[in-house]
Symmetry: C2
Subunit: 329 residues, 2 copies
């Protein structure tokens, strides 16, 4: 007799007794219904309040699960700018492991790979390590000083760094998966669409820019940049007045041979859903199938990425399945 | 150091040692990559060969996990016809548990709730019980003898039976979730769209036909029946020449207040993807969000439903999350 049991069947965590066995991810973490209700009850607009409130709701669960990989090397330079830095999260025991490179959001003008005293975004690195991968979290140059295609260029530079250096951390440079959230998703998509060298003389450019990239997770971002009045304030800051056809990634993504998985949060703001609907229509028209879109039930734009490690079925478990599949040796 | 470890992180099963603890679903079951490769490598057309080959590939894994609930009551009559029968799967220890009612596929002209000596579809009932629910698997009348809306009527009659009888099996008649696969999906959708009383004098009809139904999983079915030459052979057998506007469920689903989750298999035939793309567009136009569509990566039309219990992240885990959420007391 157990009214409460249905809720418990995929929850084993209780306070103070983390139940993960080392090296396994049993997908047991789940948030309680009252937290989900609060996360979905807020106005979906992406405001500082949404960020603060969502993370405040999630932090106790991250504290319980833990968000520090056994070995974290911070602020490694993948370029000359002070924002061209990355952290490597590892077990110290891997060799030849898949590598997950995570690119944070922040509206093109903010955000960081690591906010001390919070799980942001060490929790992605720790979760990668629990899955048997090496995790890399990167920071990149910001608008208004650095505009399109600086994000794509920084992703490209970080990928080069990973290819050149990750073996020393137990990672396999030929098995890299990228994941970006929000503006970070836009940068990853922009990289995949070939924008890193946009407008440049390609003579002498690295021709193997995609080498080792096995797939990408594009999480709550956008793929078609509106023209004119439809372009949002922060999009104007990053893309300027460049035409949609130049800066949108959808055509490039459809042409790309890289396996992709997408995600949208149930309570993402409407423009993200609009983008996902447009993506689905364009993808279907081109490929005859719908794209693989994870619908992060019970989450808003912020809590979706915050859910990784504490609400496995919202995003993390599906993303992990994808990473494991595309990095099969 | 483990090249093979990524694959193992969400796999704990090894031959002969099922690792599920009673009453928990730790989402650990995963199929090996070579099986996934075979399932996705086949022609996606829904043929007897696809059915036989897919189930043959899955059966050893079901044999290992087990697909018999502790208590199975078979062939209970929910109507006078010999096909109006259902099986109840229970632990014998529940009280007030959510109830999952599963409606099998079979192209409107075939299929059964239970094929002796196989996991079909006892595995759904056993999985429901492992999740702490009561499982109900139903069979229904078939075309060509019984045509539209007989499927919707049989779902309605089965739901009535569940409301009246399930408490004796530990189920809560106010917490019912329906799930249908393929033609069974069409019947569940048809029930939700109100077709059970289509064309009848509604005087004296049961007004509480949806009572207790908290949500539905619509798995690899279709929602808009094509007119004219676009209508498939089996659709003609079931729907006859009735116009699309009369027999399609999409308008009714969009009007329904019942929470819905959908699923499409990566290797579903194109017409299923076409339907999902159309659903996404119509849903977005009406609601401003995309629908919750589980993309069953690595599966075909048959193995998608066969994956439940042996490849949890393909469908079962997301479906379970939905069932638990909509049946919160």
């Amino acid at each position: 007799m157990t009214r409460g049991r249905a809720r418990d069947t995929i929850t084993s965590a209780s306070p103070g007794t983390p139940q993960r066995r080392k090296g396994t991810n049993t997908v047991t973490e789940q948030l309680p219904p009252d937290v989900i209700a609060q996360l979905t009850g807020m106005d979906p607009a992406i405001t500082p309040e949404l960020v603060a409130t969502s993370w405040a709701l999630l932090k106790p669960f991250h504290d319980k699960v833990g968000y520090n990989a056994p070995k974290v090397d911070r602020d490694l330079a993948y370029g000359d700018h002070e924002r061209q830095r990355l952290d490597v999260h590892a077990s110290g025991q891997e060799a030849g492991a898949p590598v997950l490179v995570f690119v944070h959001g922040g509206g093109f003008v903010g955000g960081d790979k690591h906010v001390p005293g919070t799980p942001m975004y060490d929790h992605i690195g720790a979760w990668a390590v629990r899955n048997g991968w090496v995790g890399v979290t990167i920071t990149y140059r910001l608008a208004p000083e650095y505009t399109w295609p600086s994000g794509a260029q920084d992703v490209a530079a970080a990928v080069r760094w990973v290819r050149d250096n990750i073996a020393a951390y137990g990672g396999d440079p030929s098995r890299i998966v990228l994941a970006g959230h929000s503006a970070g998703c836009v940068h990853v998509a922009s990289f995949l669409a070939g924008h890193a060298t946009a407008g440049q003389d390609r003579t002498g450019q690295d021709s193997g820019w995609l080498d080792g990239v096995r797939g990408a997770g594009l999480l709550s971002g956008f793929y078609q940049v509106p023209d004119g009045a439809g372009r949002g304030e922060l999009e104007v800051v990053y893309f300027g007045g460049r035409p949609s056809a130049e800066v949108s990634t959808l055509p490039g993504l459809l042409n790309s041979g890289i396996p992709l998985i997408f995600a949208v949060a149930e309570r993402d703001p409407e423009f993200i859903h609009t983008q996902a609907a447009g993506l689905t229509a364009a993808w279907f028209a081109r490929k005859g199938t719908i794209p693989n879109v994870i619908f992060s039930e019970g989450h808003n734009h912020i809590s979706q990425i915050g859910s990784v490690g504490v609400d496995d079925l919202a995003l993390g478990a599906q993303l992990a399945r994808f990473v494991n599949r595309v990095t099969e040796p």
